[in-house]
Symmetry: C2
Subunit: 222 residues, 2 copies
DNA sequence: AGAACAAACTATTGATCGTTAGTTTTCGAG
DNA sequence: CTCGAAAACTAACGATCAATAGTTTGTTCT
């Protein structure tokens, strides 16, 4: 073991944080990937420990239980997404910003962690027991603001007020579904959603979807 | 509904089929509901047996393993959906039928078994190991026909040929996502996707989505 | 009614699950 | 360099998993 003085390039990790704290994040990384792929029940602590390169009981030095680890993964992953959403959807910027900016920002933050939407989908499918207490205070105002944003456009001319929530949900499903179906597409067509070109193509598509469904100017239907 | 023999109302089940065959279907029903809610790993044979009202080893009289039961659930559930899809998307009816008919038929068959999309979503998220061999010969031509159907409309004027597949996928995600998020909406808003009114509203919304995104007549953009 | 078979049962298997107790190693501060 | 704490380890726990063997019950056909 060479602990160099101050010279050559060394694969050493940044020694800024205490050791335990860094392994805690490595555990979170491993757990995030495994939970996203196999879900909560399908992920064993053995799989997590193996991926980290550690024995199972060591996990308990950082997280009290499998459930606590899962909650930590969910919270660490969701926080930046919620931040971006609530920032972009701030009430003061409602009219001024165009809806396309929201699409680009959301896609950008999700592209950095493409496993997150799959994690959320697993939670959604199994009832969202862990998701509900965390999102109850967030998703409601966010949904309301997205609703207002859509209502502020002349889209109500063609959509009718009661259909706006469905429109918002539809956008959610298209965005999340893109990441959800990624592993299958990767196997069938060979497209990796981590590929920047694929992300950009989808983002462009979503922008056009927004323009078509929520046009800035009323349609010229004679 | 009931094909009664000729006599009084009796709680007895139809004695047409041999007994084992009927319990096999009861097992499939129970397994379908449980797999859709908790996924493969999250569903235990004990839960299935309890729901059927039978001991665990009895399941093995009808299905060779948990995996075989899962495959049987998937196949029995997917068959009618594939049938409707491939029938509606038959090449000869490409131009004549309007795309809205496809939406209505798909929503109708899914509304009868709202757990199916969730089952497929679980499979999709976990890699679709059981899904791929079953759908490989089906999803490819279906996707190709949906692609042709979209290309046959004047939609390419506004969408560009390379975006049509994304459009088809987007429709898939909106349809499936509606059933996926149902349990959460049921908890948050109290809407049950089994409610006929909710289904009809979503179907109407989807028809309008089709009309807006794939208009029959070229848009009058001056 | 009785033989033959299907389908339920009881009991138990080895493997693996999440979790805990107790011990040793490693790290960081004085 | 040393000491104390943090974090790794070994070993084992009870519970539960899917699956099997052997037996009993029930149904169906002649």
């Amino acid at each position: 073991m060479s602990l160099a003085s101050a010279s050559a390039a060394r694969p050493a990790p940044p020694r800024r944080t205490p050791k335990g704290e860094r392994t805690a994040e490595r555990i979170l990384d491993a757990a995030e990937a495994l939970f996203a792929e196999h879900g909560y029940a399908g992920t064993t602590l053995r799989a997590v420990a193996d991926r980290v390169g550690v024995r199972i009981p060591s996990l308990y030095n950082h997280f009290a239980s499998k459930d606590a680890l899962y909650a930590a993964v969910l919270e660490r992953g969701l926080a930046p997404v919620i931040a971006v959403l609530s920032d972009t959807l701030e009430p003061e910027g409602l009219g001024s910003r165009d809806s396309g900016e929201l699409v680009e920002r959301v896609m950008a933050v999700l592209a950095e962690r493409p496993e997150l939407p799959r994690l959320v989908q697993h939670e959604t499918l199994t009832g969202g027991q862990h998701l509900t207490p965390m999102l109850r205070s967030w998703v409601t105002p966010l949904f309301a603001r997205a609703h207002d944003l859509a209502m502020a456009t002349p889209a109500t001319r063609r959509w009718g007020p009661e259909q706006i929530p469905l429109l918002v949900l539809a956008f959610y499903h298209v965005v999340v579904g893109f990441f959800t179906i990624a592993p299958l597409l990767h196997e069938w067509v060979g497209e990796d959603p981590r590929d920047e070109a694929v992300i950009e193509r989808q983002t462009r598509f979503l922008r056009q979807l927004v323009e078509t469904l929520l046009p800035d100017e009323p349609p010229a239907d004679a």
